[in-house]
């Protein structure tokens, strides 16, 4: 280090950092004595058991996907009920059981017989909701996981003129960022 820099260094060393005021000193000392009362931010969020989600199950709410799913239920149910075989599904009336999962009823023929569902023919009810799970996204941000169980109901009319109600359970997951203070 050359002489000029040494001179600057000597100049700086002549300065003394301003003393900590007495009131600040007292606050610091008190805070250190009462460290138990200070909870670090990272400990304010209590992590629950991470929920192992099936791949592709966790998704955000999508209105169009839900409507499309219900419409598909209606269309498939119409075909099934009018195909003469009802062993793969269950017709629900006011007291009947719930229809089998949609994946078993994908139509492969008679598409022209599908009757598009209208708004008045299907509805959705929230059966149950829970939000007691906290998980983390890829960036490590805490997210509150809400599980909402829906029951989609489709009202259809068979060829015999009878009214049938098809109920399909559906579970949606919503991830809501947890606000951290």
């Amino acid at each position: 280090m050359d002489e000029e820099l040494r001179a600057i260094e000597d100049q700086l060393e002549q300065l003394s950092p301003a003393a900590m005021p007495d009131d600040m000193l007292a606050r610091m000392e008190q805070a250190m004595e009462r460290w138990q009362e200070t909870v670090p931010v990272e400990e304010k969020i209590v992590a629950f058991e991470p929920v192992k989600l099936e791949k592709g199950r966790m998704r955000f709410f999508n209105t169009w996907a839900s409507a499309a799913a219900v419409a598909l239920i209606a269309a498939t149910s119409y075909i099934v009920f009018n195909s003469g075989t009802t062993t793969e599904s269950t017709i629900v009336n006011q007291d009947g059981p719930i229809v089998d999962p949609i994946t078993q009823l994908v139509p492969t023929q008679n598409i022209q017989n599908v009757v598009p569902a209208s708004n008045s023919q299907f509805g959705t009810q929230v059966k149950r909701a829970s939000n007691d799970v906290i998980t983390y996204d890829a960036k490590g941000r805490p997210m509150r996981l809400m599980q909402v169980e829906f029951e989609d109901e489709v009202t259809i009319r068979g060829r015999d003129g009878k009214i049938y109600k098809v109920k399909q359970p559906r579970i949606e997951y919503y991830a809501v960022p947890v606000e951290i203070h």
């Binding site: 950092p17 900590m20 600040m24 000193l25 606050r27 610091m28």
Partner: protein, 196 residues
Amino acid sequence: MDEDQENMTSVTAQLKTEMTWRAWLKEHGSKLLLFARQQTRSIADAEDVLQDALVKLARKVAENSFDGGQQSWLPYLYTSIRRCAIDLGRKSDRRGKREEKVEMERQYETGGKFDPWFDSDAAGEESRGYIEQGLKELPEKFSEVIVMKVWGERTFAEIGEALNISQNTAASRYRYGLEALRKQLAQVRNEGNLSL
């Protein structure tokens, strides 16, 4: 040892710790506060990050989870203050520019007299002010090394560890920082404003 003796031992240990904290803060608090001021935008923020760092240290010492003895407290605190300042800076970005502008204007108008970093020394109030202003105007990567080296009395190895840079980089930044400060003060001297 019966219960009374155990309680007395615990109280005595606690009193010793309290006395130690106060005495230790009186000796080292000013240099830590200086570093906290250099790392933050206001005296209030400096106090916050310093307190956070001190509380973390107190907790580790109380829980007996601190690696190293009392000689390691200062290096730990410099690292902790810097991390707390970075975290606070990220949160402060969301507060908006207005608060920062108000604080900077206040510092500029008072020449740093409102919250001086240093006590006035033999060189005088004016010199203190210009040197302090020069430090504040330096790029942060230079000023933080200078503050840790000159007043924190840290080695370049300790500075490198705290700032997550190599020892050689710390030494280079120190030299470049002093050079930049020297040029600033030379300019002020040439303008006749400083009796150096």
